[in-house]
């Protein structure tokens, strides 16, 4: 007895048991209610847009891995997240071929060229969306009202448009609360805002479901709570100050919180671990930076929405933050800068 060869491993011999694919999977779970709501609010159109985006991302990731002779990485679930996030930030009647292209770009240019998962400096979904915004500025700002009677039976012609065909402008296009405020100075009721009874990108409208997903991930310790909390707090505080200063020109802080892509961005995009700083203080700086930028772009910039650019800039700043903000190492006098 007791003669066989032994298994050898180096310490530590145990692991907490939370794996990277588990984290990714849970992010997907947290996003599912948001995606379901988008279908509920915008019908088949949203269903098609979100699914196309996911398929495009997974497909691209798989092919790129194959072509570069690597093991396919789709089993880590991160491509699904990118697909969901991209789909959820697009307008509900966004042409599917553009959606597909966006998914390909997100994975190829937002992730693969950097070296894949873990090396992507920017949130891939936002890279995809930024490319689409630059390429198709009209389509990506063509909004659509939510809760239309026929949303479960009719597919918008715009969604099924042929690639590079003359853009079809769908008869009904609803202004988002942000564009309404920015260009027409019409404020939307904030209860409608919070409940998601508004127009906007497929998955950005229902703030409370997004927040719920965030709470779930924070509870599972799979999301750094500091990121959404600092972004939302700094948006609230800064816009609150402006609102107190002059409530005619500036929107109310509640409106700022619940409109546009802020909630989705703060909870699901800015929290992409790869693109955010690694130390608690660094994360707080990153969050405040993004929050301030959102307010600045929304109020003084030429665009109604600034969340995407704010987060991309935050991602760009992350390596700098990480190399400057370093905690004091135990037993040393002060932080090494």
């Amino acid at each position: 007895m007791l003669s066989k060869t032994l298994h050898i491993s180096t310490s530590p011999h145990i692991n907490k048991g939370v794996s990277t694919d588990m984290i990714m999977k849970n992010v997907v779970y947290a996003l599912i209610p948001v995606a379901l709501f988008s279908v509920y609010a915008f019908g088949i159109n949203a269903f098609l847009v979100v699914n196309t985006s996911v398929i495009a991302c997974v497909f691209t990731e798989h092919l790129l891995c194959r072509w570069s002779n690597q093991e396919s990485t789709i089993s880590d679930w991160s491509a699904i997240i990118t697909g969901l996030l991209l789909g959820l930030t697009l307008p509900p009647i966004f042409p599917l071929w553009m959606t597909f292209l966006g998914g390909v770009m997100a994975i190829a240019l937002g992730k693969f060229v950097f070296g894949g998962l873990g090396y992507n400096a920017f949130n891939p979904a936002l890279v995809g969306r930024a490319i689409l915004q630059a390429a198709f500025p009209v389509a990506i700002t063509t909004w659509h009202p939510s809760f239309l009677e026929d949303r479960f039976v009719s597919i918008s012609n715009a969604v099924l448009a042929f690639p590079f065909a003359k853009p079809i402008v769908d008869g009904i296009s609803g202004a988002t609360p942000l564009s309404a405020f920015k260009f027409d100075h019409v404020a939307t009721d904030s209860t409608d805002l919070a409940l998601g009874l508004i127009s906007g990108s497929t998955g950005e409208t229902c703030s409370w479901l997004i927040a719920l997903g965030g709470v779930y991930l924070i509870y599972k310790k799979m999301m750094n709570w500091r990121i959404p909390v600092t972004i939302l707090t700094s948006v609230f505080v800064l816009s609150g100050i402006l609102y107190l200063f002059d409530n005619q020109i500036y929107p109310s802080p509640m409106f700022m919180l619940f409109s546009g892509g802020l909630m989705l961005g703060a909870v699901f995009m800015a929290t992409d671990m790869v693109g955010s700083p690694i130390t608690p203080l660094g994360i707080v700086i990153y969050g405040i930076f993004i929050g301030v930028l959102v307010v600045v772009i929304r109020i003084w910039g030429g665009l109604p929405e600034g969340v995407m650019y704010a987060i991309l800039l935050g991602n760009a700043l992350t390596p700098q933050i990480d190399s400057i903000i370093r905690p004091k190492v135990y037993g040393t006098k002060k932080a090494m800068l």
Partner: protein
């Protein structure tokens, strides 16, 4: 007694404790193996020098090998018996060391030889010498010669003598049992340590999962001793000297420095008990308490096992499963896997954790670092293991050492434990540290030449 649950260090991890199965089991004497194999390299420093010959009869407790210089300790016979052979023996590291094969006399009384007692009035130097002569090394696992550690450098003073009863490694319950069963030895040991260090106060640090041990020791504190028992919250790696000092004194040991820089000396509680038990009789270490546990053994428990008992014999006695697949010597966080069952119990063995085929952890898939910051939030030294891991991959060892404090890493394993991407961070750091040290010593040699 002082129970303060907020006193701890920052960061750290909470691995499952897995101590319930053995912490209630009293220490039991282990039988003598038919052949004892004693390596001469059981401690940090020079191997002991053998002074006996093949064929010689020795008594239990007799000196078999003497210390080879200051940075070394002697070795005593764990049994009365016959020296069968003097030859190289296998160590857990895979290297070999000179060793003694000893065949115990059957049915002998196994009385221990009594040497020259060291009294409590002896001078500090005599006590230090006595500790070295007893072959005592850190029993917490480090096996660093205790007399070297206790030597207070010129110009320094020791205010706080800290007795380490933390035992933060999962599975292990030896210190727990020692505290419950050997209180008198511990306090006698503390008396010797006080003579040597001249400390003003003694703090016995114990984690909250051993409240019974804390209560027991508190009730036994002799009135003339400045001892307080302090309970701290359970957290790994609180048993590490630096972390324990921070938890108890709120001070940080300077980077690269020893505890004495903050006027403290830390001694493991089992080592303290050993000093208290051996010195009054002038004896040397012959056995130690070891927790044997894990899903792969039937008779789990805390055993008093003669040094030099072959691991194979130990496992046979405790009813190890036939399909043994992994054995760690020490706990799961910092212990070392045995590559062979033909190694011996040594002074630094605090635990043996055994797994069968079915229970071995499958090594998770390795993913790239996703910068989740779990490791940064776990590292008790406040390093950035994520960055260090990436630098190690690029073999940027100098950058790791010069800019990211690599050399402050004490390989506790907290970062690897939490990493969701299963990156072998500690392995990287061990290797990188060794390479940096090598480079440094090569440089030094060059400049000396």
């Amino acid at each position: 007694m002082l129970t303060s649950l907020k006193n701890s260090f920052k960061h750290g991890v909470h691995p499952p404790e897995n101590k319930e199965e053995t912490n209630g089991l009293p220490i039991r004497q282990f039988p003598f193996a038919p052949l004892i194999i004693l390596p001469m390299q059981q401690h940090i420093g020079n191997p002991s020098q053998i002074i006996v010959k093949e064929g010689q009869e020795v008594s239990r407790g007799q000196l078999l090998a003497k210390a080879n210089g200051y940075m070394s300790v002697p070795m005593h016979s764990p049994v009365s018996g016959n020296i069968r052979k003097i030859a190289d023996v296998l160590l857990i590291s895979g290297q070999t060391s000179p060793g003694i094969y000893l065949e115990p006399f059957p049915y002998s009384g196994q009385e221990v030889v009594v040497g020259k007692p060291i009294s409590l009035d002896a001078s500090p130097e005599e006590i230090l010498k006595g500790i070295q002569d007893a072959g005592i090394v850190g029993l917490g696992g480090a096996a660093f010669p205790t007399h070297v550690k206790l030597k207070i450098p010129e110009g320094k003073t020791c205010d706080h003598l800290i007795i380490n009863g933390i035992e933060c490694e999962p599975y292990l319950t030896t210190d727990h049992r020692v505290m419950l069963e050997q209180a008198d030895d511990i306090f006698t040991g503390i008396r010797y340590l006080l003579r040597v260090t001249d400390a003003k106060e003694v703090i016995i640090g114990i984690e909250a999962n051993k409240q019974d041990a804390a209560d027991h020791l508190t009730s036994k504190v002799p009135t003339d001793l400045p001892v307080k028992v302090q309970v701290v919250p359970v957290k790994y790696p609180q048993g590490a000297e630096k972390m324990l000092i921070t938890a108890l004194l709120g001070k940080e040991v300077p980077s690269g420095g020893l505890p004495i820089e903050v006027n403290a000396v830390v001694v493991n509680v089992a080592t303290t008990a050993e000093i208290g038990r051996l010195l009054p009789h002038g004896q040397g270490i012959q056995e130690r308490v070891i927790t044997i546990t894990g899903p792969g053994v039937k008779k789990k428990g805390n055993y008093l096992i003669p040094i030099g008992t072959p691991l194979r014999y130990v496992l046979e006695q405790v009813g190890a499963v036939d399909n043994i697949s992994e054995v760690y010597m020490g706990g799961p966080m910092m212990g070392v896997s045995a590559s062979s069952l033909d190694i011996s119990i040594v002074k630094g063995t605090s635990g043996i954790v055994v797994f069968g085929d079915n229970e071995v952890r499958k090594v998770g898939k390795i993913y790239p670092c996703i910068k989740c910051s779990a490791c940064v939030d776990a590292c008790p030294i406040f390093l950035n293991p994520s960055k260090l891991g990436i630098l190690a991959k690029f073999e940027a060892y100098d950058t790791m050492a010069d800019e990211y404090n690599l050399m402050d890493c004490f390989e506790c394993g907290s970062c690897s434990y939490v990493c969701p991407s299963n990156i072998p961070l500690v392995q990287y750091f061990r290797l990188s540290k060794a390479l940096v040290r090598k480079k440094k010593s090569a440089k030094q040699q060059k400049s000396n030449a």
